[in-house]
């Protein structure tokens, strides 16, 4: 690298897209994807994720705002940037009458920066990486959904890429395939490739992503590291006790908010400082969400206070919210797709 690489691999400023019907699909998006991150891009159906991805890749023009990918403006710099970007957009698209291998040859020929002399070797390598080497000679129309998905990912891996944009890469894959793709994503990230990953599978984002952003109704609701986002999801304190009313009173005195008493269970939101202190170290956020926080001093104090007031405590603990809870709290419970 001759020049210091820009800190953000993808950066958008006030990015908006209004479709001809007048519908505002993306509204004032300020996205910053740091170099080397695995960036989880979340949002319910119809929230503008795909429109954003298409704008990032120069497939559709922004109505307003600017985009920079790998330091180049999009769409004007697309021809210089896109050879360094691999993409899977809204599922794979293949020539059914060509073999899997033929499809990759076709896509590679479309890239003017791809050297035809190394094409054969690169195609075989990409097929191997996604586990399709054995089925490469079959016509693509005979492929299962999972195989098509793998071939789509292989097309994104034909050249060494600096950025991979993967729109729901594990869609249609069996659990084994999902694990393979996730470990492939991790391996690519370790090699220094920035991965921009959109997914509905929140545990997938929690497992592989270092950063995340959430969209809802065309707007960016939040973005940051996964650790920060999980930390925002303050755990809820749950006390199991036959003395519900008394417990609630004591907890309220100690700053626990949003108290609800149902049966013999009292739940409430811990005050922010207490929650942070009781949170496991942020590195843990990369692994699967750990239920319950370690015993911090505040929790111990709370428990002591309860017992001192004569509350009979049967159970006491913090249930840490999963990313899913955060997601739902940010985007709303509603099942209906935003119109």
């Amino acid at each position: 690298m001759a020049q210091p690489p820009p800190a953000a691999v993808i950066e958008t400023r006030g990015l908006s897209k209004r479709y001809r019907g007048g519908q505002l699909a993306v509204d004032g998006l300020d996205l910053a994807v740091p170099r080397g991150s695995v960036f989880g891009f979340l949002g319910p159906n119809g929230s503008g994720k795909t429109t954003t991805i298409r704008m990032l890749l120069g497939l559709i023009d922004a109505t307003e705002g600017t985009i920079s990918v790998l330091g180049e403006p999009i769409p004007s710099g697309a021809r210089r940037v896109l050879p360094r970007v691999g993409a899977l957009i809204e599922g794979p698209a293949l020539y059914g009458f060509l073999s899997g291998r033929g499809n990759l040859h076709r896509y590679d020929a479309a890239d003017p920066s791809a050297d035809p002399r190394t094409r054969r070797a690169r195609v075989e390598r990409a097929l191997e990486r996604v586990g399709l080497a054995a089925a490469a000679g079959k016509k693509a129309k005979a492929y299962s959904l999972g195989m098509k998905q793998r071939l789509g990912i292989a097309a994104a891996l034909l050249q060494p890429r600096e950025l991979l944009v993967l729109d729901e890469p594990t869609n249609g894959l069996d659990p084994q395939g999902m694990r393979e793709i996730r470990s492939l994503v991790r391996a690519l990230a370790e090699d220094g490739t920035t991965v921009f990953l959109s997914s509905h599978l929140l545990d997938e984002i929690e497992q592989v992503c270092s950063h995340t952003a959430v969209m809802n109704r065309g707007r960016l609701v939040t973005q940051g590291t996964v650790a920060e986002m999980s930390a925002d999801a303050r755990g809820r304190l749950t006390v199991t006790t036959p003395d519900g009313a008394e417990a609630a009173r004591v907890l309220k005195e100690h700053g626990v908010a949003d108290l609800t008493v149902t049966g013999d269970e009292v739940t409430g939101e811990l005050p922010p400082e207490a929650a942070r202190r009781n949170e496991p170290p942020s590195e843990g956020a990369r692994g699967p969400g750990s239920p319950g926080a370690g015993p911090g001093p505040d929790l111990a104090d709370l428990n002591t206070a309860l017992v001192r007031s004569g509350v009979r405590v049967r159970g006491f603990g913090v249930t840490r919210a999963s990313l899913e809870d955060v997601f739902v709290s940010l985007t709303g419970e509603g099942f209906d797709v935003a119109g």
Binding site: M1, G58, E90, G96, R106, Y107, E162
Partner: protein, 322 residues
Amino acid sequence: MSQADLAGSAAGSGTGPAGGSGGGTAPDSAPGAPSGRGTVPRGGTGRRRTSGLLRSELLTTFRRWRTVALLGVLAVIPVLVGIAVKIETADGGSGGDGGGPAFISQITNNGLFLVFTSLAATLPFFLPMTVGVIAGDSVAGEANAGTLRYLLVAPAGRTRLLLVKFAGTVVFCFAATLVVAVFALVTGAVLFPLGEVTLLSGTSVSFAEGLLRALAIAAAVAVSLTGLAALGLFISTLTNSGIAAMAATVGLLLMVQIVDTIPQLHAVQPYLFPHYWLSFADLLRDPVYWDEILRNLGLQALYTAVFGSAAWARFTSRDVTA
């Protein structure tokens, strides 16, 4: 190999508004160019790699079962015409008296005339219909299958892809015409005698020169189809449905052919792309009557320029949502 060379020259002579897109010897392809590993090659390499995309386009088109079927239908027509004429004249008659496509009465004397007859019979509808299918499907079909977005992020470049699509369609025009001509020639040679060719103006030329003129006629017919190819390409950039684009192109062809036969509309007829199609017969005169042939070429160039530009304007500015 020769196929690719032919196509390469077709792409090079394209009259598209962005003819210089991939070309030019850009000085910034030096080793120290910005952004190390992702430098897009320019100049010579770029041009060679565009021919690589064209080769891929031709392989993709001609490996399709549909393309083979279209060419198969075109191959059958001259064989059928030849057999029909043979059966019709088996009793020693001289073939139909005045009816049927042009030159049909001369076939029994010289099999070479089957080439002219077949081209005259297929040019009004069959040949342009196959071109309409290929041209209409060229961009819209890729959009329909979703492969267009992957070609564009590869990145094929919109202008480059459009030029390749047009060049591929023009290659198909030549291939389709050649299929008709070659099958007609073979059928004619098998079923009828070959020999000196009597031209329309009455003079006779050697069989070799007749063959040469047949080749020129095939070329003229193929070039006649390029205007339609550009029109189909433009329609193809308007929609994400390959079927709709094919139907619209073929429908438009039929409509224009009908308008071309209505005497009351003679004022517009000289501007209709099929108006001078049958002028290829003038290549069989001695001396060759160039007037309408040149007018045909000019008209095809005009259609290519107008609809090529329209296709370019549309395709380079549209949102690819498929």
